[in-house]
Symmetry: D2
Subunit: 299 residues, 4 copies
């Protein structure tokens, strides 16, 4: 099969590599010429413009977008859509908001698949987990590609209609926030607690047979091995949060409580309060108000 790939960042490059390795052909385009050259070097056909890219695609077009979520997806679609027909297929493999995917699927002349992609850089060797939404026939048509990009046939699935792939990925990420924070609470308690523990050793033992073993826990073990048990050089301001925010918003709309996900997200917000937390300043002043506890002052 021939696949066109637009967007050759870290994730896009992995898609190219895995699809080529599975014996398919790839036409590759990116605004960054160096990224196109790198794709060409491993066997993709380079395109130097969207026009050139489209021209190189033969028969019904199969296009994988791996561009940043948001405006870049819309801009790319705007260029592509005049040249698409209903037997073409477009896959958005990025981290788009599911509502955007629903909207795009409606206006796109081609069959539109929204594909949540999880696994990070480790997916280069292992393959990704792919959650795909959109027309079932288009999904079936692209199965050989999904087999290649995913860990294999078990690593992808058709979730449901338009938007459902990114919806499931959104919830995946919400859960990811909570899992990270759950391990964080455990290790923080061990770190601050009453024994002097080697956290690399703890996570190694846990990763071998314990109920809470997981890939994230393997990453914890790696973190302690590479950074030391106290992670002493790592800062504690945590960025990110968009997919977590979307998950909480959907929980509000569906009236489903997601307090662990919310708390994990809040923890990140709190980590960025450079000027301190107003609620704490107020608490100090109130403790003076009702108990004459001395108001601590900023230094």
């Amino acid at each position: 099969m021939q696949l066109g790939v637009i967007g050759l960042g870290r994730m896009g490059q992995i898609v190219v590599d895995r699809v080529l390795a599975a014996g398919h052909d790839v036409v590759a385009f990116d605004l960054d010429e160096a990224a196109v050259a790198a794709a060409a070097e491993v066997g993709a056909d380079p395109a130097d413009s969207i026009a050139d890219f489209l021209e190189q695609l033969e028969g019904a077009k199969r296009i994988w977008l791996m561009v940043p979520a948001g405006a870049a997806v819309d801009a790319t679609l705007e260029e592509l859509e005049p040249h698409l027909e209903d037997d073409d297929i477009v896959v958005d493999g990025g981290n788009s908001k599911f509502q955007d995917s629903v909207r795009r699927a409606e206006s796109c002349p081609a069959a539109y698949l929204d594909c949540g992609t999880s696994g990070g850089p480790a997916g280069a060797d292992l393959g990704f987990s792919l959650m795909v939404g959109g027309p079932e026939a288009a999904y079936a048509e692209l199965e050989p590609i999904f087999d290649a990009v995913a860990t294999g046939p078990d690593g992808h699935g058709h979730m449901g209609p338009a938007g459902s792939g990114h919806y499931v990925k959104m919830v995946h990420n919400g859960v990811e926030y909570a899992l990270m924070q759950a391990y964080g609470e455990g290790f923080e308690l061990l770190y601050e607690g009453r024994y002097d523990l080697d956290l690399e050793d703890v996570s190694r033992v846990w990763n071998n047979g314990a109920v809470i073993r997981s890939w994230l826990l393997e990453l914890c073990e790696e973190a302690f091995r590479e950074e030391g048990t106290d992670l002493v050089d790592v800062a504690d301001r945590v960025e990110g949060g968009s997919t977590g925010t979307w998950t909480v918003q959907e929980g509000l709309e569906q009236e489903v409580p997601v307090p662990l996900i919310y708390t994990a997200l809040s923890e990140r917000f709190g980590s960025r309060a450079d000027d301190g937390r107003f609620s704490r300043r107020l608490a100090n002043r109130l403790r003076y108000g009702f108990g004459r506890h001395e108001v601590p002052r900023r230094e």
Copy 2:
């Protein structure tokens, strides 16, 4: 009625003042001679030792302890108990753990009343709220004293048997933590939010007729008036937490969820993490592990 008061800190002094103002007699003792002298100045009979204190009490003894919770209460009782009989009454007006009060009530030869006291320094003028546990007859006997120390007859009540006074006070304080944090969240959102608001003005309007009006909100208004709307000089490390911790522990034992109280308490713990939060450092390293987000480093 004659009342002996041991412990003449801010709260003990208010007890002395209010009991005297109601026409009763007071014998006052404290390890700090200046505090005894101050009590004498407003009309109390000064005692220069526990022995002297006991000697000055006539007939069945009525003794109010207003010493710091913990060891000081036990130490004082140890000195008093050889001289107490079963028609004597001891009131512990401090912030004792209810289990301690149950234990002390069992071993004290006198009737023992555990009295949760709320209201802070403002109680000087207004009177306190008194939650009293222990033998009902002893409570009835001391009603004139409670009328004087409390806001009046409505400001005190017999909660139940030994320990129940401090139990109700413990829960009161747990609720207090959550209320403070609830107002804190609201004002923090207004402060960080999309309008440039005068928070003194907001709290003034709320205190006049709004559903959330309260004494704590009046203290917020006072805080903004005296410190400015941004509380700019106030530090954001919050001390305290013992009664909140006890409340959560009791919730665990009773299997009653108290997530707001727990979260308010956690917020204080988090405010004291001088070296940053370990869980956040781990989160940053994990974000590198699965997403190659650059690890932020400490400066």
Copy 3:
């Protein structure tokens, strides 16, 4: 001053009563003729249509809307706007979303004031708390009306530009959710806990001098007095949630953690899970998976 009032439900009727009582004139309209008749009975000039209502307003129009938030406000404005000019003033005293108020203020030919109103039915006697956003001159012009509707001059304030009144009211309601839940946790712990307590008595003592005294706590006292200490007849499914949801959404947007407000809101969502909570069913099955704890089955 002459005020036109549209919307004569419980809250609108109180506005009419208080404005009349302060010596002003009122023209009153509602789709419900009985409500108009009731307003006429206490001294308002009845209008039998929007056209009639507008005709009766003399000079620059001052109009107070007290209709349900949402579509009813837009529908009313659509009828009014062709007849409004820039020296007219419209007040929306309902519980509108602040973004709607910003939008309406932009398109309304008259000066538009968004007025958050708090206090509930108790406001009939006491007056309301009014948080007003919009043009300062319009606010100043209507001060006599606000003095009458609010508890007095202290019960209202100009918060800032368009939307700020309903923004402050939104946060007020978010805090209200958390306060209710905080008291709920405390009373639930006392109710389930180790003493057999009279909760009316507890709340009465707390309301007299304790740090956590408040109007909501007075309502708790009233609840226990009228329903009994165990609230035995009251169901435990809790409705409502829109303003709490808006507050959490704004917290997400501003990246300000509001975990107590979120948890209070979640508690309501959870109370409505008629078919049980899916996460709990899953927990039971997982406990079997790793620990062979027998899976409890539905009866």
Copy 4:
């Protein structure tokens, strides 16, 4: 090596099987004769009393306790201790409270190892994760046994002094509560959300390459496969909670916030409120108090 095993429940039997399979000798005792017979059948030397058990142990004794945490451990130790010397070794492989293990280590004449054991019934084939506290020399001496019981040399570790093994296991379980709840929130949102999803399929795709893949997620997949995607027959009252409670208590003592673990634990408490939640009944009555929302009544 010869190992004596006391306690032949599901977990003890697995210990016997794995130690025998590794070529060691086992003397097995349990109060339940059938369990002893079962152990004998697979090659263990049966003991019909503690005395018989002790007699069959040759040289320095190596004893593994796999009896229920709490009183059973103390009762067994009481019987054993008169016969133990300081070159003997006792392992407590159960789920004991770490403070109990510290106490027992102090009074036991033998070297005492507290060994947190994780992995559940799946450990029969795979081996367990073993977190061991106590004297390092005793741990080293028993390494061949730990190699056999664990997944292998990577599946066990010496955490630190007495109590540290059960301490790390306690935190492990706290994290386990939070992980279960995190997945529960995600699947509940997917279940209640806007797409009709096959949750077995979702978890299968996630388990192949996604960031949140884990053993617990494999158990979710198994749950949906065996129970159906809606877990329709599973009840939603969740038992258990002791190790979670201990973790939260230790968090309180160390002043380390563990809100996710606390919330997961609370969720279980809430699931057992057979008579409804008091705080919700109060919320309903308060909504009447300030807003005249009709009070819903129990049916």
